[in-house]
Each structure stands twice: as C-alpha cells, then as structure tokens.
Amino acid sequence: MSTIVTLILLLVAIAGGGWVLRFAGQQATGNAPVFRDMPFAVAFGYVLGAALLLFSIWYFFQPTVTDAGVPNAGVVFFRWAVQFFLMSALAAYLFRLLGRNLGTAGSKKLFRQMPLTASFGVLIILIYAITAIFAAWLAPFGQEEIFARVNVLPGGNEATGGDPMHPLGTDQIGRDLLSRLIYGAQNTVGIAFVTTCLAFFLGGTLGFLAATLQGWLDQVLSRAVDVLMAIPSLIFALLLMTIASAWAGSERWLLTVYMIVIIAVIDSTRVFRLARAVGLNIVVMDYIEAAKLRGEGLGYLIFKEILPNATAPLLAEFGLRFCFVFLTIASLSFLGVGIQPPLADWGTMVRDSSQFINFAAFSPLTAALPLLAAGAIALLTVGVNFVVDWMLHKSSGLKE
C-alpha cells in the first residue's frame, strides 16, 4: 500500500516540477515561443524523463555487493544492461562512421542516410554471419565434446565454482557452454536461413507461375494457400511435427530435416501471396507482352523478366520472413520439438537452463545464462527488423 502512496506522491511532485519548469522558462526567457506554447503534458514529460535519467545514473553507481556481503543483483543486471546499451550504440556509431569513409561512393551514400538503429542492425547481421560461418574456428571446443567437470558455473573463477577453461561453464553432461553458444549461431541461424531460402524458392516460383499462367492453376493454388493460412502457423507446425516425429522414429537428424521442410512449406504460403500480388502487377507490363510475342518460354519470363523487377519487395519480405522462421524454429526448439540434440541450439539452451533464473538474487552470473541464449535470438531478430524497418521507410518515401 505504501508503495502506491509513494508512487502517487512522486507523480504529483513531477507534475509540480513540470509546471514550475514551464513557468520558470517563461519568466527567464521573456515568454519565448518554446515555453509559451508548451502544453502541460510536454513539460511533465521533460521532468519525468529527467527524473528517470537521474534515478538511472544514481542506481548505476550503487555498490554491487550489499553490506551483508550478498550480491545486489538488481544493480548488477542494471549495469550490464546499461553497459550493453551504451556499447552497442557506440559500436553502431563507429561502424556507421567507418562505412561513411570507406568503400565505394554508393555504399558511402547509403551509410550517410542511415539512422543509428539501422547501422546497428547491419552490424549485428554481419557479426552473426561471421560467427555462423567461422564457428568451428571461433569456438574453443567442439559442440559435442564432453568434459569431466559437469555443471561448472560461469565466470571462470575457481573460488565461485568456475573454471578458467570454460568461461561460461559447462552443462549437466559436461559440454562447454561457450562453444555451444557459438555453434548455436551456426545451427540455429543456418537452419533458419536454409528454411527461408526454401520457402522463398517454393513460394516465389509458385506465386510467379500463378501470376503468369493465371486460370485454373492460379485458382487452385490461391485457394489452397487460403486454407493453409487459416491455421495459425505455430499450431500447424506443432501438429505436423507430431506426425514427423512418428515418421522419423529414432533418427533424430531426420526430424530436423522434416522440420525444415514443414516450416518452409508453411511459410511459403505467405511468400506466395506476396509474389503473386507483385507478379500480377508486372505481367500486365508491355515488356512482358513483348517477350511473349518474341516467343520466350515460361522459364525465361519468370526468371529473366519478372524476377529482376520484383527483387525490392521480395528482399524486404525476405528479412521479415527470416525473422518469423527464426523465431518459429527457436520456439519449437524451446518447446522441445525443434532442432534435436546433440546439435547445439539456442532455443534448447534456454529451455535447459531456464531454472537458473531463480538463482538471480544470489548469483547473477548463473542467471545470465538463459538470458544470454534467449538474448542471442532476440538480438538477431531485432537487428534484422531495424534494417527492414529502415528499408521500408526509405522505399515508402514516408517523411512525416
């Protein structure tokens, strides 16, 4: 109850502060338009923002260990979050600076118009791609390598149950978690990428085919897609995975292959819709008519005439689709029916280590583990979304 009273008092104080700010500003600047036309809500917002900023700075410099010797976990997590935020902002800024001064005239121009969020997204995608491709060289150990020491705590400090050889510790059967996190990039991102490509190949080809040929083929495909899209995708994927798991039996790698096919088919329905809509706008163009009169074949029409003119919308869709596929795979793995062990993957890691979060108050490092794996998933999708958001904003010419 007292918390609520304190909160209300705080809000009243901030509201008073807002009024004082506006009044003082009007007096000091001789009624300058900024302060004269300032609505009360805006003044309130300024004071609220300033109060939050001050509180964050004060909280950031609190000691990480209380007088009783217990770690002050809230401060630890807050410091990590703030440090991560500042570091990524700095990295994005430096990366954009680098891009503005290096490379061709075209890429320089691209980087000049880029907002900070988009350059952060590009940076993230680059880092993930490098990690995924060179996982075998970057990871200290193999993903299936088993060590004698199990359940080593993260931190690499012998005194707190860590091991300098395993900075993130080991799991319950003794596999190095840092290596598994790095290999997770290869498996999770790689499988999501393959799935998205497959979905685009399927959906794109069928969509362009339907747009070019029209008639009964278009009707049949469109109605089939309508039906498939009426079932929520995660639910449908789970249903089909049940059946796939019965088919795959004890062959676990086969289940992963089935998963790729299932998710690709489900997601290709969304690609089909877009490809067909874009294709329908293109096939009425004169140059298509000309190509038909020249007697070009269907393959030429689709891949040489339609595809090059549909790249821009398909590329933006590719980013979004990749995010969806990536999240679906992570969710399936988290639920225990996605990528199968012994392959390392982030969704499974989150599920396996989720209980550690309850130890956050005593050992913040241990609790960081599930958050690290889940954060790795979130970071990539956030990065891709930032880039796609910028691309869409740029192509729509939206100014306001």
């Binding site: 917002g45 039906v227 009426a230 079932i231 929520p232 789970l238 059946i243 969710s331 029916v337 989720s354």
Partner: protein, 331 residues
C-alpha cells in the same frame, strides 16, 4: 442496410467453409501417421488380435471418409473422443481410474483458463497501446516517439520466452512482486487468480502492444494531411483535441481491424507463454500432447485454435466493413 447483412452472411458462410476445409486438412494430416490409433494405444508388444479388437471398438476399420464425418459430427456435439494418455489401458481393461478420459473433459477447464488469460491481456494491452499510439502521433518525431518506436520494435521482434524470462527476472526474482509460476486451480478467488495470471498477461501484452501501437500511430498520422484536420487546427483547437476528436474516429477502422488480428495472434503466442509460466491452459495441454503424441487431444486443440483464429479474423473483417461506409456500399 440490406447489402451489409448480405455481405456479413457471405463472410460468415465463407468462414464456415474455411473451417470445414481446415478440419479436413487436420484430419488428413493426422491420418498420415504411420500405424494407427490402436497400435499407438497398445504400444510395442500388441498382439494382432488385441489391435483388431480395438480397431473395431474405435471404428478404425471404417473407410476414412466415414470416420471423418463421424469425428466431425461428434466434434460439433462437443464429443472430441477419448484421450490416449489417460485412456491407455485403464478404460480398455475396464478399470476405473477416476481420472477424466474424454478429450472434452480435459480441454474444458483449460479452455476457460486460456480465455481468462486472453481477456486479462486484452484489458491491459488494448487501452495501453491505443494511448501510446495517440501520444506517439501527437508528439511525432520527438524523442518520445523515437524511443517508443525502438522499444516496441524490440519487443515485437523478441521471442516470447525472452520477454517472459526478463519479466520473471525483474518482477518475480529480483523484486518478488508477482509469482513466477501460475498454478491455477479450482476454488481460487478472483483476486488470487488475477495475481497469478498477471505475469503471463504482461508478457503477452509486450508481444502484441507494438503492432497495435504502430498501427494506431500510422492510421492517425495518415489522416493529419486531410483538409478537415487543417480546418480544426486553424480553428485554434489544441493538438490533443484535434487528434482525439477529429482524427481518431476516422482512424478507428484500421485500429479495430488490427486489434482483432492481434487477438488472433495471441492464440499462437499463448502456447509458448503458457509453457514458460506452467499456466494450465490449452496451449500447455497442446504442447504436452504433442510430446507424447496424444493424437485425439492434438487434433482437438488444433481444431479449437484454428476455429478461434478464423473467428477472430472474420470478426476483424466484419468490423472493418461495418466501420467503413465505402466498404458498406460497394460499387
């Protein structure tokens, strides 16, 4: 007015047709399983005679089309068949284990729980996101707008379990305000139930708010270039009044549409969130049944999810027709 009713009836019929086809798809998918229900119930060491007996008992010796219509007919009457997990040997051996064995009995209480969770989420998320959207449109291109944009984009692109664990970390472990496990049972008071549901509901709110808020903002900003908004501004109205009184009513159609679509999206999101919080809802049951391959339950849950999804999409469709005079009188 006549045309509105006929359009709505058309959409309803189309929705029913879709549902029917979807049920065929689900039934066909399940029938692609190797072996059949009888073998699944009896497991590895089944004698051919026992399998044959159960096949007859369950009507599995009938052709698929007959079985489909039987299943559909029963499903419409609320009889979704028997669950494998609990039917297993007990009911066939004639033993009374005292646990509920029909799928309907298993699903009914969990369905109510999920509905409760969705309702709590909607009550928090809808007002919250519309307010945020209006504020972002009012102070567009300000620091507030940018910050809201980045935050909501981050929350919409994070996986549900990441948001859930972050919330657990801050609201349940570091500051023990809310319980991190939602063990709901019969006979709980409404307050207790609400307290246990709050954390999953907050997670789902984070998931759906972004989309609704961005749509509200975009719909309002789209209208701001219209002459009548210019007129209102020139009259000397305050920006807040211009938006709430003049822009918002005309932006309602897309906003209502996106709300209904997001409620439909909740249905998918609910699966992961229920698993994280061990919330006894239909999503948790679905995932558990998928893992042990309890086909009748999987089938029934799938049908319920699909029906809810189709219904909410239909609702979005109808509401956008009703709120837009141009769609109401098609040329």
């Amino acid at each position: 007015m006549q045309s509105v009713i006929s359009i709505i009836l058309q959409r309803l019929a189309l929705g029913l047709l879709t549902l029917f086809v979807v049920s065929v798809v689900i039934f066909t998918a399940v029938n692609m399983l190797p072996g059949d229900f009888a073998q699944a119930i009896l497991g590895q060491g089944a004698t051919p005679e026992a399998v044959e007996a159960i096949r007859k008992d369950l009507g599995l010796d009938q052709p698929p089309i007959t079985r489909y219509f039987q299943w559909l007919g029963n499903a419409i009457q609320g009889d979704l068949g028997n669950s494998f997990a609990q039917a297993n040997f007990a009911s066939f051996a004639g033993a009374d284990t005292g646990v509920s064995t029909t799928v309907a009995q298993q699903i009914a209480p969990r369905f109510a729980n999920t509905m409760f969770l969705a309702a709590v989420t909607a009550c928090i998320a809808v007002p919250f996101s519309i307010t945020l959207g209006i504020l972002a449109a009012l102070y567009r291109n300000s620091v507030f707008d940018r910050a809201t944009n980045v935050t909501t984009l981050t929350s919409i692109s994070s996986p549900e379990f990441f948001l859930a664990y972050v919330l657990i970390l801050f609201l349940a472990v570091l500051n023990p305000m809310l319980p991190s496990l939602s063990n709901i049972f019969d006979g709980m008071s409404f307050g207790e139930r609400l307290e246990k549901t709050l954390l999953p509901a907050l997670t789902l709110t984070l998931v759906v708010t972004a989309h609704m808020m961005r749509m509200t903002r975009a719909a309002i900003i789209n209208l701001l270039a219209s002459p009548y908004i210019e007129m209102a501004r020139l009259k000397g109205m305050s920006p807040m009044r211009v938006i709430v009184k003049h822009a918002l009513p005309n932006a309602l159609a897309p906003i209502i549409n996106v709300i209904a679509l997001n409620l439909a999206y909740l249905i998918t999101g609910v699966v992961v969130v229920e698993v994280v919080f061990v919330y006894p809802g239909i999503g948790q049951l679905f995932v558990d049944s998928v893992k042990i391959r309890d086909i009748p339950v999987v089938q029934a849950c799938c049908l319920i999810f699909a029906a809810a999804y189709i219904l909410l999409n239909l609702l979005a469709d109808i509401l956008s027709i009703l709120s837009n005079p141009r769609l109401r009188h098609p040329k």
